[in-house]
Subunit: 193 residues, 2 copies
DNA sequence: AAAGGCAACTAACATTTGTTAGTATATTTG
DNA sequence: CAAATATACTAACAAATGTTAGTTGCCTTT
């Protein structure tokens, strides 16, 4: 089964690339660096991928597509707006913990995408943000949330969840569940007494 | 006064470098790119700076030193812990708005610092975080804040303030003051009703 | 007017970069 | 078993990179 094997190697390259891009940035990672990590000469990787740019694209759109499709799913559930927003926060934290490197790349290195891919990514992100913002707005209109500035709330939530990538390691004395609960409380209720 | 002129050119290089590093990353910005932006051949800039690495160092430590010295000052004021934390949040937002490019570089490109400079930067940041965390802890102990996990609160605050760099432009329909007030409310009281 | 130094230039350097060509060895397919 | 395909390798490329050397013109000081 050549296909299976090929996909595995390809997947390995993508995973190692995500780790290296996260650690050293897209520009700071050479194909020879990546080859060394994968256990292969740089040139050999071209049997599995078409270009360095393609690696970045695959990582970024994998993450982007996950967010978009999950948002669509959450939008259709029959729950309160607060619950929907909590579900989105949960999604962000879980993805960060389970696939931190890829999310990190999609967060930080998307700007090295080229031409139409760059535009497509920005468009997808904008749409995601719009969908998220709409939930906040509706939550306010429904009286479930404080009348905060929607953009401010949106970006504060999105950012407040990003640091997990920089900080969370299994065995830091806090489980993923505790972490999530703490963040959720903070965003919903604040730190003031 | 040759010295004055020299400092001005040097300053210009640092400012344009911060903008470019923010837009395209440290690795994605070539000395020739920077020269074009400054209005000078790449080689000519070496009359004002010693290396590309030095540019990054100067930007990163300028920001880092500002944070550290301001924290020291705030620590010594005679106010409640809540007020001190609010002062720090205010500092972050103000710096982001006034010197966004440099702060952005210090946030994202510090990892390209080399050897001892990298260590020194990480050390400085760790100390800053420790000082900030101590204020939160003391605020909890004094009964001014909810008993949240200190690390979670610290990083949520630090991150919640970062997005300003990605989003805020003068003339976005919201003033710096409104922005600050909104973020402050959100972090202190949350979005839930 | 002469001298000295600052700041710009051009040209070139050694590396490193992403990628292709060509080749050899496995592995799968007929 | 033979043929075909997939996957690894080495060697090399053209372009781009940070940086240095050497030179020229300009401004300040004497």
């Amino acid at each position: 089964m050549a296909k299976k094997v090929k996909n595995n190697k390809r997947q390995l390259i993508l995973e190692e690339a995500a780790k290296l891009f996260k650690a050293k940035g897209f520009g700071g990672t050479s194909m020879r660096d990546l080859g060394a990590q994968v256990g292969m000469e740089a040139a050999s990787m071209y049997n599995h991928i078409n270009s360095k740019d393609e690696i970045l694209e695959l990582i970024c759109f994998h993450v982007s597509n996950t967010y978009v499709s999950q948002l669509a799913q959450i939008e259709q559930t029959d729950t309160s707006y607060v619950e929907k927003i909590k579900a989105l926060i949960h999604l962000h934290i879980r993805l960060m913990i389970e696939d931190g490197a890829a999310v990190s790349v999609a967060n930080n290195d998307w700007k090295y995408l080229t031409n139409d891919k760059l535009e497509a990514f920005k468009e997808a992100r904008k749409n995601y943000e719009k969908g998220f913002a709409a939930l906040i707005e509706q939550g306010i209109a429904a009286g479930e949330l404080q009348p905060v500035n929607t953009s401010v709330a949106l970006f504060t939530i999105l950012s407040a969840v990003r640091w997990v990538e920089l900080w969370y390691r299994p065995g830091r004395g806090i489980t993923a569940e505790e972490l999530e609960e703490n963040i959720m409380t903070l965003l919903l209720n604040g730190i003031a007494k």
